[in-house]
């Protein structure tokens, strides 16, 4: 396995009495890594610690083998796209990106050209001479991403980069972020929207209340679900008859009715349960108009991992957190 780009051990950040990051121990490898968690989980705090905007209260934090706080040499190799706008609205896209490129150390004679190339790449070629104050939210996000990559950093930290973007802008940004990862950039991207992360990477870190809840490949984490009841929502013309057919099977853990046409099956053996439903339709002629698995995405994993944070619950899943 490649060397980790980010190494943290017992990292803590307190805002007075409020805990932002709590004893966080994690290694982040190269490639695109998603930081996932609800609002207040500590995603932005962790990213600000990584970019040296916050000073760690305790613990060790190294990025590219160096400490971060007050390390200007390191900051020249980091690109940061904050969640907050904070841009000079009177500046044009090119001026904004070129100004920040110069602050990153790009010489004046190259800054404008590089800014224009970067904005072109992000689909802002036509808008680059317009004031940022006239940009849509999606365009601002792309301008912020442009300033983060204009100096060609080794590590890219993106804090909620898709917030406020329209669907088209989201697709474009996801594509660009994946491209950056493919180019070999180390990208750490945060979001509280699960499918956003899922679209960008398989490697995730789930944060909750400043702690790592789980990390690793999304599919490996997904395997943890297998021991947990898995929901299948079936839209059927006769849900009660279908339920009667299913109820005797060992793969079915429980049944619930949302309305006359929808039955929700809970199973611990989804591999057996899905064929059973298919057979029900084939053998008994049930007209199944929809089959949803609300568990079959990151949302379910996150919910599963966060719904029981009691010591017993944590102990049961003791191997899910910490270092990879």
């Amino acid at each position: 396995m490649s060397q980790p780009v980010v190494v943290s051990e017992g990292l803590c950040k307190w805002y007075g009495k409020v805990v932002g990051i709590n004893e966080l121990t994690v290694d982040i490898p190269p490639g695109v890594t998603g930081l996932l968690g609800p609002n207040g989980a500590g995603k932005s705090t962790l990213i600000k610690l990584l970019v040296g905007a916050l000073r760690p209260s305790r613990g060790k934090l190294q990025v590219l083998g160096q400490k971060v706080w007050r390390n200007r040499d390191l900051l020249a190799h980091i690109g940061y796209c904050p969640d907050h706008d904070g841009v000079h609205e009177d500046l044009s896209g090119t001026e904004f990106v070129a100004f920040l490129a110069r602050l990153s150390g790009v010489p004046a004679d190259k800054a404008n050209r590089r800014a224009e190339e970067t904005l072109d790449r992000l689909g802002l070629a036509d808008a680059r001479h317009r004031p940022i104050g006239h940009y849509s939210k999606g365009m601002r996000q792309r301008a912020k991403l442009a300033q983060a990559i204009v100096h060609q950093p080794d590590l890219l930290l993106l804090d909620e980069p898709l917030t406020g973007c329209d669907p088209l802008a989201r697709v474009q940004l996801v594509k660009i972020i994946k491209e950056l990862g493919d180019e070999g950039k180390v990208v750490i991207v945060s979001s509280h929207i699960l499918h956003e992360i899922e679209a960008m990477t398989d490697e995730i870190i789930l944060l909750y209340k400043g702690q790592v809840l789980a990390n690793g490949n999304i599919y490996r984490i997904r395997e943890m679900i297998d021991a947990h009841p898995h929901k299948i929502e079936i839209h059927c013309d006769d849900s009660r008859a279908l339920a009667k057919y299913l109820v005797g099977d060992q793969s079915v853990h429980s049944l619930a009715f949302s309305n006359d046409n929808v039955v929700t099956v809970q199973t611990r053996m989804p591999d057996q349960c899905y064929p059973l439903i298919a057979n029900a339709a084939l053998d008994n002629g049930f007209k199944i108009s929809g089959l949803n698995s609300p568990d079959n995405n990151l949302q379910s994993i996150f919910k599963y991992l966060t719904e029981d944070r009691s010591p017993e619950g944590v102990a049961q899943r003791g191997t899910t957190g910490g270092k990879r």
Partner: protein
Amino acid sequence: MKSAITDQKSPIRDLGYKPYDGPRLSHRGRFQVLFRRNLALAWASTLVKVDLILSMFPMVVCAVIMYLKLAAQKRGLPIKEDPGLWVFNCIFWCQIWFAFTMSLLVAAPTISADVRSGAFQFYFARPVSRMAYLLGKVLSAAVLIASILAIPGLLLAIMRVALAADGGDALTQLPLLLKTILYSVLFTATLILPAFALGALSRQPGYVQGGWAALFFLPWLLGEGIAAATEIPYIALISLPTNLRWIGEALFGVPSSHDLAWYWPTGALLLIVGCATWWVIRRLDRVEVFS
């Protein structure tokens, strides 16, 4: 940094990434980028331009008065004070209002506006030190304020030297140029650093501007008023303008309006400005970027 990326078996290279190998500016020059940007931002303001243009008018009036006095002096008419004192009169009694207005526009709200807008996130996520940030911001404000104070002052001083009665008089007046520069620098620092210190206290530029106006005028009014009533001149040392006036009087040889030696207002002013500088550096040094 280099060792982390190139000397070790870097994971970045494992993925085929080619690190940027173009030139980068040294960290030392970063304040110039901020300086130019801040100056451009200030110049974009109509109020700043109006203030700068209006500030040149008192100089014309003072120049006319100085010329008339010099002409009268040449004709042998009795002139009580040297016409060169109009340099001080112009700077202190006329330019102070425009310079203060400029400090209100470009110095007081600078830090708080950056905190409020979240600009720190962009600045301090880059190789920009707190001192480089402060230097860039202070210098841009200083250029504007000093131009209001020093340009009229220096032009008047040059005029005084140029219209000297003879070579000896011109040589005698030459230090006036140096005094004008020194006074303008002190004046500029007094109008900038306490304003920046206040700006580091609040996220609301409006509050900072109000606070700066109060800090500048209230002690002036109260200090001089109480000092006059109690006949204790030391009380007036709490006022920035009073200290500037007394220092100016000592520097330009204006008949003194008080009994204190020059080092009293100088010490008080340096103490206030020094504390303000210490405070703003301390605040910025400890700043963490929240949004």
